[in-house]
Amino acid sequence: MLSGLANPRQAAAQLMNFGLIVSTAFMMWKGLSVITDSPSPIVVVLSGSMEPAFQRGDLLFLWNRNILSETSVGEIVVYNVKDKDIPIVHRVVRKFGIGPKAKLLTKGDNNLSDDTELYARGQDYLVRKDIIGSVVGFIPFVGYVTIMLSEHPWLKPVMLGMMGLVVVLQRE
C-alpha cells in the first residue's frame, strides 16, 4: 500500500495525472457552458412539478442561445428566482412583447396554478435574462445520484472514501 509513497517520483506522476484528469473534466464542463451560453448546461430535475414528462432524477440538457427564434410560449425553460440559487424547470405559458424585455410567465405542467407565487416579491413576470436555458433533450434517471448525495450528505465522504480505498488498493 505504501509502495506509491516510497517512490516520490511515482507519487508525483500520479498526482499530476490526477490533476490533469480533474482539470480536463472541469474544462469540458466550462467549454460546454460557453457553447450553450448557459451557466449550468446540464441540470438534474429536483421536483415533480413537470411530471409525467420529467421525473425526479432526470438529467436535462440546456441550450441558451436564441439563434433561430426567440424563447416562445411552450418551451420548457430553467430559471433561477431572483437572489435564490434553486433552478426551476417549468414551461413558458405566457409571453407579452418581443425582445429581451418581453414578459414571460411560467407554470409547471403538474401544478394547478402558474408561478406568480414563486417569483420574487413584486415581480409578476420573468424576463429573458432570468432564464438560464431551454431544455432540448434529456436522459431519464441518470441524475438520481446527485439527488441522493444532496439529500443524504453523509453519502459523500462515504463514496469518496470507497473510491480512495479502491485506488489505493489497486496499486498492489
Binding site: P52, G74, I76, V93, K101, G137, V166
Partner: protein, 238 residues
C-alpha cells in the same frame, strides 16, 4: 490485471458504452419516422371579458378573457415507440400596435397566452401520469395492452371551457383586435430530443396542417345592468 475488480470495471464500462449507443440509436430513430399531424377544426364558440380577480390569489382586479373553443385534431402520427407523452396546448395570440413607444409591423404576434393544455401519455408512460388508481386503470384498459396507441392522438372537444383565463400586463384586455387561436404540440420522447410543431416540412416530418383559427376580436366588458343577455359574441374578421 485479471483481478475481479478489473473485470467488474470492464463490464461496467462496456455496459455504459452499449447503453449510450442504444440510446443514441433510439433517439435517431425519431428522425426517420414520418409525422403528419392534422387539425380539422379550431374555432371559438364563446367569448367573454370580465373584470375581477382572475385567480383566487390575485391581489388586484383586472380584465380577463374566457375563450371557449371547439377542436378536432388528429395527432396520432406523433406517437411512436419512443414517445413518452404529447403535450398539446392552444394559445391565443394577438399583436400589439405599439411596444414601448416603437410601432411594430402589423403581423408581429407579440402577445401569446396559453388558454388550454392537456397531457396525452403513451401507454408505456401511463404509470407516470398523476391520476388516481381508478382513472389509471381506465386509462390502461383503453390501450388494451397495445404498447403504443396512436388513437390517443385524436382529440375532439366541443365548446370546451378554457383552463386558463388570460390577462394582459396592462390590466386591460377588452376589445383587443386580431386575436387568433393556434394549436401547438410538444412531443416528449423516452430518450432524445424534445420537439415542437415546426414551421416548415423537415424531411419526413410534415408541418401541422390547419391549427390556426380565424381572427376574432375580444368583446367589451360585460355590463352588469344588461343582465344575462350580455353574452358578447366574437366578431370574425376575414
Amino acid at each position: 490485471m485479471y483481478s475481479s475488480l478489473v473485470r467488474i470495471q470492464n463490464t461496467f464500462g462496456f455496459f455504459t458504452t452499449v447503453a449510450f449507443v442504444v440510446a443514441a440509436l433510439i433517439a435517431a430513430s425519431d428522425f426517420v419516422t414520418p409525422r403528419a399531424p392534422v387539425v380539422n377544426v379550431l374555432k371559438t364558440t364563446n367569448l367573454q371579458v370580465v373584470r375581477g380577480r382572475p385567480h383566487y390569489y390575485s391581489s388586484k382586479k383586472e380584465e380577463y378573457a374566457i375563450i371557449k373553443f371547439t377542436l378536432d385534431a388528429d395527432l396520432s402520427s406523433l406517437f411512436t415507440w419512443n414517445t413518452k407523452q404529447l403535450f398539446v396546448y392552444i394559445t391565443a395570440e394577438w399583436p400589439s400596435t405599439s411596444v414601448s413607444g416603437t410601432t411594430l409591423p402589423s403581423n408581429a404576434t407579440s402577445n401569446q397566452a396559453v388558454i388550454w393544455d392537456t397531457i396525452v401519455t403513451s401507454p408505456s408512460a401511463d404509470h407516470l401520469a398523476n391520476i388516481g388508481p381508478i382513472a389509471l386503470k381506465k386509462l390502461r384498459k383503453s390501450a388494451a395492452g397495445k404498447p403504443i396507441d396512436p388513437s390517443r392522438g385524436k382529440i375532439t372537444l366541443k365548446n370546451q371551457r378554457p383552463k386558463y383565463q388570460i390577462t394582459h400586463p396592462s390590466g386591460k384586455i377588452a376589445e383587443t383586435e386580431d386575436v387568433t387561436l393556434r394549436l401547438h404540440y410538444n412531443v416528449q420522447p423516452w430518450v432524445g430530443v424534445l420537439t415542437w410543431n415546426q414551421n416548415a416540412d423537415y424531411g419526413l416530418w410534415k408541418q401541422l396542417s390547419g391549427g390556426l383559427s380565424k381572427k376574432f376580436s375580444l368583446p367589451s366588458l360585460k355590463k352588469k345592468d344588461e343582465g344575462k343577455k350580455a353574452k358578447a359574441r366574437g366578431i370574425l374578421v376575414s
